[in-house]
Symmetry: D5
Subunit: 132 residues, 10 copies
Amino acid sequence: MPKPLLLETFPNPYPGRDYEIVMTCPEFTALCPVGGIESDARELEALEGGAPDFGTITITYVPNRHCVELKSLKLYLWSFRNDGIFYERAVNTILDDLAKVIKARRISVVGDFNIRGGIKSVITASAKAKRR
Amino acid sequence: MPKPLLLETFPNPYPGRDYEIVMTCPEFTALCPVGGIESDARELEALEGGAPDFGTITITYVPNRHCVELKSLKLYLWSFRNDGIFYERAVNTILDDLAKVIKARRISVVGDFNIRGGIKSVITASAKAKRR
Amino acid sequence: MPKPLLLETFPNPYPGRDYEIVMTCPEFTALCPVGGIESDARELEALEGGAPDFGTITITYVPNRHCVELKSLKLYLWSFRNDGIFYERAVNTILDDLAKVIKARRISVVGDFNIRGGIKSVITASAKAKRR
Amino acid sequence: MPKPLLLETFPNPYPGRDYEIVMTCPEFTALCPVGGIESDARELEALEGGAPDFGTITITYVPNRHCVELKSLKLYLWSFRNDGIFYERAVNTILDDLAKVIKARRISVVGDFNIRGGIKSVITASAKAKRR
Amino acid sequence: MPKPLLLETFPNPYPGRDYEIVMTCPEFTALCPVGGIESDARELEALEGGAPDFGTITITYVPNRHCVELKSLKLYLWSFRNDGIFYERAVNTILDDLAKVIKARRISVVGDFNIRGGIKSVITASAKAKRR
Amino acid sequence: MPKPLLLETFPNPYPGRDYEIVMTCPEFTALCPVGGIESDARELEALEGGAPDFGTITITYVPNRHCVELKSLKLYLWSFRNDGIFYERAVNTILDDLAKVIKARRISVVGDFNIRGGIKSVITASAKAKRR
Amino acid sequence: MPKPLLLETFPNPYPGRDYEIVMTCPEFTALCPVGGIESDARELEALEGGAPDFGTITITYVPNRHCVELKSLKLYLWSFRNDGIFYERAVNTILDDLAKVIKARRISVVGDFNIRGGIKSVITASAKAKRR
Amino acid sequence: MPKPLLLETFPNPYPGRDYEIVMTCPEFTALCPVGGIESDARELEALEGGAPDFGTITITYVPNRHCVELKSLKLYLWSFRNDGIFYERAVNTILDDLAKVIKARRISVVGDFNIRGGIKSVITASAKAKRR
Amino acid sequence: MPKPLLLETFPNPYPGRDYEIVMTCPEFTALCPVGGIESDARELEALEGGAPDFGTITITYVPNRHCVELKSLKLYLWSFRNDGIFYERAVNTILDDLAKVIKARRISVVGDFNIRGGIKSVITASAKAKRR
Amino acid sequence: MPKPLLLETFPNPYPGRDYEIVMTCPEFTALCPVGGIESDARELEALEGGAPDFGTITITYVPNRHCVELKSLKLYLWSFRNDGIFYERAVNTILDDLAKVIKARRISVVGDFNIRGGIKSVITASAKAKRR
């Protein structure tokens, strides 16, 4: 299960300037929920869960008072590894978890997932802080 | 014949947020209608239909209450396989069929078709929901 | 000589929607007019005309009542093959000939020509229908 | 069903010289046999057959007395379109059918198939004429 | 733990000919054994195991009497997902497990692993059947 | 019609050393002979000849006493422009014409032709001088 | 020394339409002025001038009454070959010289210079005609 | 420690025109501060400092009265080599140091850093002169 | 100074089989020795040493009884960071240091260094164990 | 005129081992001799010499007792800048000049020249030391 408590922050060293941070993780993996596009009985028996999904997660944000610590982000993304989760939910969950912890001025999350059933999916979600 | 009844949906898990979903299918194939650019008598006899076309279909939408289920989309796109259909009609038909089923806030369909007669064609159509 | 009479049309199947058609022809060839950048006496004698030019023609348009038929476009572009014509004139001629035949809502023509004398040229021209 | 009778030949214009001909068809498609890696009940119902496979077929040969006519090869490869056939069998069948018709000095067939179940497959088979 | 029992075979349809099959799986993942290059206390606590590794496994073989069934290969490769295993051992294990099951005339396995600690690793191992 | 008389030579400045010259012409064009893969009645009427073919010709040779003069090679290749000729014949003709004029120690000609009917063709022929 | 007198023009064949011409010259070379980033005593002695610079010049303009003749542009760009000139001055000089001769509706010049001292430089300048 | 005193300028040769200069340095390296993402006891002992980081720094500015001298920029960027500095601080420091020295009309700095812990980071900061 | 004592090994898990390990480190950096191609007085003053060099080191070996431990290799390559060393010496030193520690059946080292003075250098050295 | 006296050497630090050095110079330029493929009267007047040629020179050698010093090689290659020389002669001259100075165990020179008259040329020459 995704563990948002793994996320840690450090104080933004340049809070007086709007600048942008992009972090790209090309090694995201989770499991397709049971019943998803490529699961069948033989697969479930083999892995005791759904089929694995792979993708690249890209996070873009303008920090306010805090930046996300890089290593804690890595551990947080690892925590999806053995979870069954749909693409749409994974991207929006990462957005919500990060937004809550770093309260960025603006933030977006892109999940670019490998082909499944001959179809490639890219999900993009974004949010803005209500006030600065 | 394209079978829009194959399309299935699931409830958008984040209806309160405008986010974008892009689905790319690089394995779209249909038949060129009889009389199209590369058909002749010998071809018709061989295949009992027009010459095959190949292309990539890319669907981009912002979901409202429903998302299209990935596997049902795959089956729907397969249903063009043995149909004679012009490029312009294929792209606009996919747009209309999806728009009717998922009522997305906005949606576009791009058909990027392989070279025929030394000419490559890309067709782009889009639609917006009238009100949210 | 370019033969605009070769261009044929078919009725736009979706006239109620603004959608875009891009047609790319990477096999355009014409002759450089006599006296152009790479012609000299020996070349003229060999070919009985100017030196050949090569390029890619890309046509982008939003159809109104008619679409250009793909095969007729191919034949029209072939009709430049043994004509001496400058780049600027070729691109604007294709634009004018197509605009007259299909009366598109908007249309642009890009000619991307191979290096001559160490210099690559790209010419872009566009037009809009005066009223819809 | 593959139709080897579609294959036609023309006399090799340079039979006195060993030279090589490579023909690449990036638009090969067939059906996965029922029960193959991505078929399930919903898919079978939709297409009345197995799931479609896509790939590129490359044929390399040194002609003896005959060359294969290009258009007949195209029609022959189209004849796999609605056939259920495994990769290994498709490649070896094309090799056998061509070898029988053109009796090339040497010939090889490569089938480079799109990812299925997260795995890409490339099959290569070749044959030599027993005597020249 | 890798589960070689998941591997299934089918009879080689062309046992009389030496032909080559290449299968590439770009979605291989395993865990780095505890104490490996990027594990530390915080990582172990987060994942209850070592850090994840990612790579592409490419298997090339000339079948003898049996081919490996594609879906069973996928399930077998998935079975490394939550195992701590060094690169060298992973590649040699896959080679041994496959060699035992399909007794290929010749077989090689390449593991091309993502950068860890700024260094990329590629391991290649191969084997031949002792007699045909 | 190809005009081998256009080919001119200059004395090899280093006849005592075997060295290799590769000349690549990406702008080769000829006409498909009447009756070829993409000709039909409408095409013939438009162009008064077969459909145009495009390709890249690559010539590799080790000079003996003479090198081919670059500009004369260009003019010679232009002389195919309005000729109906099959791929196999074009490549072997260029090889024969050059071999006769420069008597290279060894020479090869590769014709890499654009896709026609969904199939790409590459023809390679070579020759060696009988004695040096 | 750059020789703007080499620049010649021809009348714009379509003065009634705003269209764009892009000319790219990937073979621009000049000398770094004496004392520039990579010159030292040994280099000056060798070349009797500064070290050579290399780059690509891209000119984009919308013609008014005149277009620049392609061959004269080539000769003009050659005239920088043995001149010592800084990047900033080269780009702005080309812009000024062209603007004076063709009086384009708008024009820009980009100089994309090769790495020197581990740093790559790209300079972009543009101008508009004051009135049309 | 970064040494801004190394930065030297020369007078902008075209102060009357807004034009843009982009300088890209693909060979930036610094040290990760002690305690950063990939340091551990063994690493510290080896290098007597944190682990090295690598990246590309891209500086884009519109000069006012002064341009930065290229060689002095190179030396300034070298001065980070043995400094422990976080990505965010490095990019903002370069921006501040340059802004103070050249007082550009506008300036931005992008730091594109190599993957660490499976995550790639790109930081972008920019500033404008308060008045011209 | 390079520190070969940093190199550590682990027992080859498959000593009975000849298999190949390739390790690529794209982040190698050292200093150019004083007096090298791009050093001058201003540079020496700035860095208190020669100018930095950058490159990619690729090590390929067939292990005998020992493999090199990946993290120790990283630390060893870091130990060149502040050393003045010529390309030829760096590559041969790495080869000698590794050959002494792992006594591989065969081993090669390639150093692919970034452009200096407009010239790119690649050095390749290899060694074989005298007896197995 | 090429100045072989500019070439300097330093002692091979590893004369006991056969290892390979590849040096690539992508910024080679010379002049086409008067009368070459793209010269005409207007060009000669402009440049007081033939048209400029551009290419990449790649030198590969196994050193014996001496290596070529990198900076002296750069100066030597610059010395072709204002010389009229044919491709074949340039490549063989560089080979001869280097072979005389460094007496490499084996050496080859490749000249990869930009397109002229629509044709790209690559010349490769090599030599071996007579005895070691």
